[in-house]
Symmetry: none
Subunit: 189 residues, 4 copies
DNA sequence: TATGAATGAGAGTTCATTCAT
DNA sequence: CATGAATGAACTCTCATTCAT
């Protein structure tokens, strides 16, 4: 039972590594199998197709990223502190998981990305969305659509993390703090 | 001579349309040829390879987007007005050119994207970069790296335009103004 | 012991059903296992290979069909009556066992079919062959090779049963009688 | 233009040869290509898929067989002579084209065979069907369904030709004549 | 006996690219 | 310049068969 999970996980991890390096097209199933140390055929025991594997990987990565970010989420603190904490954790996650960031960006700008998948995945982030929603209702932050807030949160962080991975920027802790300050100014009422 | 340009342009336009709809992998050269109304072979008269075509398309789209944005750029106005104008024009361009936005996002998150290409392409945006640089020096805006400014400018606009294209948000002129206000609060000193 | 026979039989029955519906190529061993309610591996305990299973199925079906036809065979009746009886029973069998007919037709027109198999299988029909042989010697029927008689007997019946299964003809008892009359006219001296 | 036809024809002929020898499953597209002296990919320029190739081959073989049989068909002769002539030509065709016979038998007992295909193909034999129909109306032959007549005509001939190809019988001209005599006795009024 | 995860060879098919015309 | 038939390597996926449990 544990071994099953391990093999499935090994396949997902191999796919993540190779896709983040070589893209969807550049990642042949046979290479995923080789990287995962399994036979080519067994992948189809766990996944229906390459597309299914990629969709599953996206959901898995998204869930794990949400779990990681939410780990230190403390609803008892003041809202502003909550928001800062979320941002810090998102930045931390993105900077520590460049492969995941690259993969998620590739996925969400590709034809794989569909409303159906997004609907499922956004549920993982419900507490975060709720936090910003409360802040909006309490008029701590501006009355902007969730999508805008999300863009200023996830997209900005992952875009910057991507640039960091590409060596175009050096995101020190201090710089991240200043970026978070700037984002706060953007959304504060 | 004009016909040459036309045929070359037709190929690029066909590639843009198909890639924005079906991705790189889902866009076969034969389909590009068919969409462009030319033979499959002739593409290789104008481009060395599929990769070369895609690289060329990226540079072309980037240049045209820069040209469009810079069209109404007026260096004689106050810096803050210049920045607002740039943002408005970028949003306008992104919202009016969803295919281009989708393609650029796909490209810049794919293995096609290389530092070398980015270096070339960033030159098209020299006046914009210079504008923000002046604002920084005059301490009108915060002392943040260009990459951060660029993220809050191009990435935010194209991410939002993508969401608009996907029907996830309705970016009215008024909302765009409020987003620009927020962005200004983010970077102002 | 009984269970063994049951499992082996279940496999053969599953194979018969699936092959008659989907052909040899369309019938994966894993599907046979599923249909039979056994594991994929156990099939190889009873049969050496897929080919061996199919060969065995052919022999089994052939033997059972011969047994069924010969059940009511009465050597004490006049030869002409014996022949009519045989034909009636063959038609009856074919019309009642469309899966078997379809499978046998597929098998005997495929590369599986070899002289070696046919030699074994034809033994099941020895009494029938002997009956026609006696009729030939007694000059009740024409002096035609056994193969021709067999064609006018088995092939005609199974071809017509196949057409019945495909809905191309409606073989009522009365029509079968008239066909048997016609066949009798064909071979009578 | 001629070359196109030649290459397409070469593929069909290679498929016919290999399928008649090794069956559908035993005939890989790559082997068809090799046998035809073309590349593997070009087959898909002429045919949508392996199934499409096989369907096309069936229709082609059926049409050519009908054309060959109908070549010497003379509607001005007496009906009985017409029928004998048809039978003789069918036997002649089957005995001279064992590959075609084996292929057609395989096809018509396989899941490839569908009512839709049969409907198309039966049109090639319209004159023959009409001939038997006239004979039936003029009460020269028994009042049996077309399917029965067809079975006694095509199926008997191809079954016997298959046995000849397998070396199970030696169909001399004289024997064929006697079989035709027998068939005539079967259907004559 | 029995399971079913695992293997890996090989299938059908696609498509970037070439080249005779 | 232009065509599109042709190539063949590489891909995704299947499945007969094996074997640790």
């Amino acid at each position: 039972m544990n071994q099953i999970k391990d093999k499935r996980t090994a396949i997902l991890e191999a796919a993540l590594k190779l896709i983040s390096e070589n893209g969807f097209h550049g990642t042949a199933m046979s290479k995923v199998a080789k990287e995962a140390g399994v036979s080519a055929g067994i992948i189809y025991h766990y996944f229906d197709s390459k597309d299914d594997l990629i969709d599953d990987l996206y959901r898995t990565v998204k869930r794990k990223s949400a779990d990681t970010v939410l780990e230190s989420y403390d609803q008892s603190r003041p809202l502003r502190a909550q928001i800062r904490q979320i941002w810090e954790d998102i930045f931390k996650y993105c900077l520590r998981h460049p492969q995941e960031v690259i993969f998620m960006e590739q996925y969400s700008t590709s034809p794989y990305y569909r409303a159906e998948v997004e609907a499922d995945v956004s549920q993982y982030f419900t507490p975060i969305i709720a936090c910003f929603e409360r802040a909006r209702q309490e008029m701590i932050i501006k009355d902007l659509p969730q999508s805008v807030i999300a863009t200023l949160t996830l997209n900005v962080a992952s875009s910057l993390a991507q640039k960091q991975a590409a060596g175009l920027i050096n995101l020190t802790d201090e710089l991240v703090e200043r970026i978070i300050d700037a984002l706060w100014e953007a959304i504060r009422e």
